[in-house]
């Protein structure tokens, strides 16, 4: 079914201790947000290899939303900080690929922040909707 407006595809990587639990809490509280995000539950945001994010973008995702525990809250001490650094570097790389670095975001979300999760996902979805389809995807699909 063709839609007359752009519906972005967003891949999420959520750490199971905080962000995934916050996503659970958002659901339990019946907080509504756009359905575009498709999340993967991982043990720790520090597990996320930048390659996964690139892969998602190459496979057709218009945005990637990564979330880990708040600083100091990481179940594995500092996995979230490792993730933050990796993603900061990745974003630099994206620019050189001609891709808007806003398409990838890393957020700290604690277990109890269901409403913040919903809010951030909503905002990110709107941002990606505003940026339009990923240019990478177009290239990839036309090849």
């Amino acid at each position: 079914m063709e839609k007359d407006y752009f519906e972005p595809v967003i891949v999420g990587f959520l750490c199971r201790w905080c962000a995934a639990a916050a996503a659970d809490a958002a659901g339990t509280s019946r907080l509504h947000y756009p359905p575009n995000i498709r999340p993967v539950r991982v043990n720790c945001s520090g597990f996320i290899d930048p390659v996964y994010i690139l892969r998602a973008l190459l496979e057709g995702a218009d945005g990637v939303f990564v979330a880990g525990c708040r600083p100091g809250d990481c179940h594995y001490v500092d996995g979230n900080l490792k993730a933050r650094r990796r993603i900061a570097i990745l974003k630099e790389t994206l620019k050189t690929l001609g891709l808007e670095d806003q398409r990838v975001v890393f957020e700290y979300i604690s277990t109890s922040e269901g409403s913040r999760y919903a809010e951030l996902v909503k905002k990110f979805t709107e941002k990606i909707r505003g940026l339009g389809p990923s240019p990478l995807k177009k290239k990839f699909l036309t090849v």
């Binding site: 498709r38 043990n43 520090g46 290899d49 930048p50 100091g72 001490v77 277990t111």
Partner: protein
């Protein structure tokens, strides 16, 4: 790894209408049944029910399934349920994956049936992709240290320590203050029975001191925590007391001669203690400490020393005798309790400038028979007996705009008690209570408030107080009674504010050391508010008392015993099963760069000195996967979370129809 000939079964839960009300479960089953390797797809009203689980077991056997997907609620709720069900039908539990289509799909996308259905299919599809390469695993077995650490020596910590010790476990009880006893030891009497804490708590404190299994670390703090369930390593810091506790007999001769007066924490500032002190008469341990910040000798390094001269047992050394000790425990119970806001936060009530505006814990000390006034209610300003006392509830609580959104829960009851005790102390006096709602929801509580109103003639006014102003030697209280619809002015002699209860100071720092979470108000997060209220999300760390949320003594003691029971149950086993989701190394691929060694927080990876390949210690590996993300060659991977699996999941999730 043996690649099995795929026979996957998918079970989609309606969860009543929770899922099926939004997600078209028939369509999901139909679409999913087309996936490669799926030999069975069905939907059912409640998969977690007995008949639901039976369907899973039956189908595994009948259709010889080698993998199961349950599309239902969050894995935090029922992953264990379905893995156990599968195991009992002979399927390895790690060949079961949960797809969360309730919290992540049906609930947040209510009213968007079509999109939700599509998203559910994608999420299940991704779970199938992961499952394909999931290895059948056996749990890693780890030994257990049959000892417990209890943090916090209030009534919660005391109860938990006694229960664990009575079960035969060694207990390390750590209290940061000079004495155990906590807030309860500061109370005058307790609602609704009017027992005095001296009568009911002191025997428990003594029992702690005498129990052969309890190792009390008073005046101590947690320095560092390492390890994991069954095998924690904890560094406890004994703060310097400058007194040799082996010699100190608790005779208090030192306190008699010390010339320095400091507001007493135990008396909540309405009376003084000395620079060398034992918090209160029944203190456990009954040993003195020197407050180095205020002691003349400690400050200037010379002079005074009167306490040492007066000490019959020559216990006072002025030497920094602090130390750090490391203990090993299998479980930790956090019982750090609460603090109470001071009156100086509230500008409309005088910012603490008015001496006769007290917080309720200060008023407890005025009521306490062993308090600074020997239980006589006397105004701090002039020592007169107050004839009219106003109590104000919900000060800083239920006030999201300025302070805390939550209800402090215990105030309705202790204010009724304080008003009642005030009337007992000053029979010709009058007590007024400003309240918004009365919450008296325990056994005998409603009756207790009723008694305050009828027998003791406490006047309850429904409304808040706008401001308090000093008028001569009176406090003019401007309030409202919304029931008559009139503003109320009372010229009071004394005002007591039921200030909000807050998480104990320093809990954020401790939570960080323990790697447990706090909620938005700073209370400890429990694993599940209803079903796992005594556990943190970190296995082996339990929560007791008001650290989780404000509780009265009854609830605190119940929860402390509950947390102790949880710890005892955990440590009753000789070995614990640890998640086998750990890192593994493909030695053929490993180039020995050592990135994984340096990134590992747990020192679980080592480089084989001869072969120059990484080796993982499964006992130490926590399964965070940081090594996998940093490995340049893809040699080190997290079991059942391999690169291939994640890639396949991404492909499934980004697939466009």
């Amino acid at each position: 790894m043996i690649k099995v000939n795929e026979r996957i079964g998918v079970f989609i839960c309606h969860c009543g209408l929770n899922i099926a009300g939004t997600v078209n479960v028939e369509k999901v089953a139909e679409e999913i049944s087309k996936c490669k390797g799926v030999v069975h797809a069905e939907h059912y009203i409640f998969m977690c029910s007995d008949p639901g689980q039976e369907k899973v077991r039956q189908t595994i056997k009948e259709k010889k399934l080698d993998g199961v997907i349950v599309a239902a609620c969050s894995p935090d709720l029922h992953e264990h349920t379905f893995r156990s069900a599968a195991a009992s039908a002979g399927l390895n539990p790690y060949r079961v994956e949960i797809a969360n289509i309730r919290e992540w799909v049906a609930w947040p996308h209510e009213g968007k049936g079509e999109e939700a259905t599509e998203k559910a299919i994608k999420i299940i599809d991704a779970a199938i992709e992961k499952l394909r390469d999931n290895m059948a695993l056996l749990p890693v077995e780890v030994p257990v240290t049959k000892k417990v650490l209890v943090i916090g020596g209030g009534i919660a910590g005391i109860q938990a320590a006694l229960d664990c010790a009575d079960a035969g476990l060694d207990v390390y009880l750590v209290e940061r203050g000079q004495s155990i006893g906590g807030k309860m030891a500061q109370l005058s009497e307790t609602f609704p029975t009017l027992d005095c804490p001296q009568c009911i708590e002191t025997p428990k404190m003594t029992a702690v001191a005498q129990h052969p299994k309890i190792h009390l670390y008073a005046y101590s703090e947690i320095e560092d925590v390492n390890g994991y369930v069954g095998n924690f390593k904890v560094k406890i810091k004994r703060k310097p007391t400058f007194v040799d506790w082996d010699k100190c007999t608790g005779c208090r001769e030192c306190m008699k001669v010390c010339p320095v007066k400091v507001p007493s924490e135990y008396e909540r500032g309405i009376a003084d203690r000395k620079a060398i002190y034992i918090s209160f008469p029944q203190a456990v341990p009954n040993k003195a400490v020197i407050d180095a910040e205020n002691c003349i000798r400690m400050k200037y390094g010379k002079g005074c020393g009167l306490c040492a001269k007066n000490c019959p047992s020559k216990a006072i050394t002025f030497e920094g005798n602090g130390s750090i000790e490391e203990v090993k425990v299998g479980a930790i119970i956090v019982a750090t309790g609460f603090d109470v806001m001071g009156v100086n936060s509230f500008g409309e009530y005088g910012y603490g400038k008015y001496k006769d505006v007290l917080d309720a814990l200060q008023f407890e000390r005025l009521l306490a028979p062993a308090g600074p006034t020997s239980g006589k209610v006397l105004r701090p300003s002039d020592g007169r007996e107050p004839k009219e006392v106003v109590f104000v509830q919900c000060v800083g609580s239920r006030d999201p705009d300025n302070w805390h959104p939550y209800c402090s829960k215990i105030c309705c009851m202790y204010i009724a008690k304080q008003a009642m005790l005030y009337k007992h102390a000053v029979p010709d006096g009058q007590a007024y209570v400003f309240y918004i709602d009365i919450r008296a929801d325990g056994k005998g509580y409603e009756e207790f408030v009723h008694r305050a109103m009828t027998e003791d003639g406490v006047i309850y006014l429904r409304g808040k107080v706008g401001k308090i102003v000093e008028e001569g030697d009176k406090l003019r209280v401007y309030g409202v009674d919304t029931l008559t619809g009139r503003n109320v002015v009372i010229d009071a002699d004394l005002v007591v504010l039921a200030t909000a209860v807050e998480p104990s100071k320093g809990i954020d720092d401790l939570a960080r050391k323990l790697r447990i979470q706090l909620d938005q108000d700073g209370w400890l997060s429990e694993a599940h508010l209803k079903l796992r209220p005594l556990e943190s999300l970190t296995s082996g760390i339990f929560i007791a008392g008001a650290a989780q949320y404000i509780k009265d003594i009854t609830d605190t003691v119940s929860q402390a015993s509950g947390a102790a029971a949880k710890a005892i149950a955990l440590l009753s086993r000789d070995k614990l099963e640890k998640e086998p989701i750990v890192a593994t190394v493909d030695e053929e691929v490993c180039v020995g760069c050592g990135n994984c060694v340096s990134i590992c927080t747990y020192n679980a990876v080592e480089l084989d000195p001869e072969l120059k390949v990484a080796r993982v210690n499964e006992g130490l590996c926590e399964g965070c996967g940081a090594c996998a993300a940093t490995c340049p060659s893809g040699a080190i991977q997290l079991i059942n979370n391999t690169k291939k699996q994640i890639f396949e999941m991404i492909t499934a999730l980004t697939r466009r129809d």
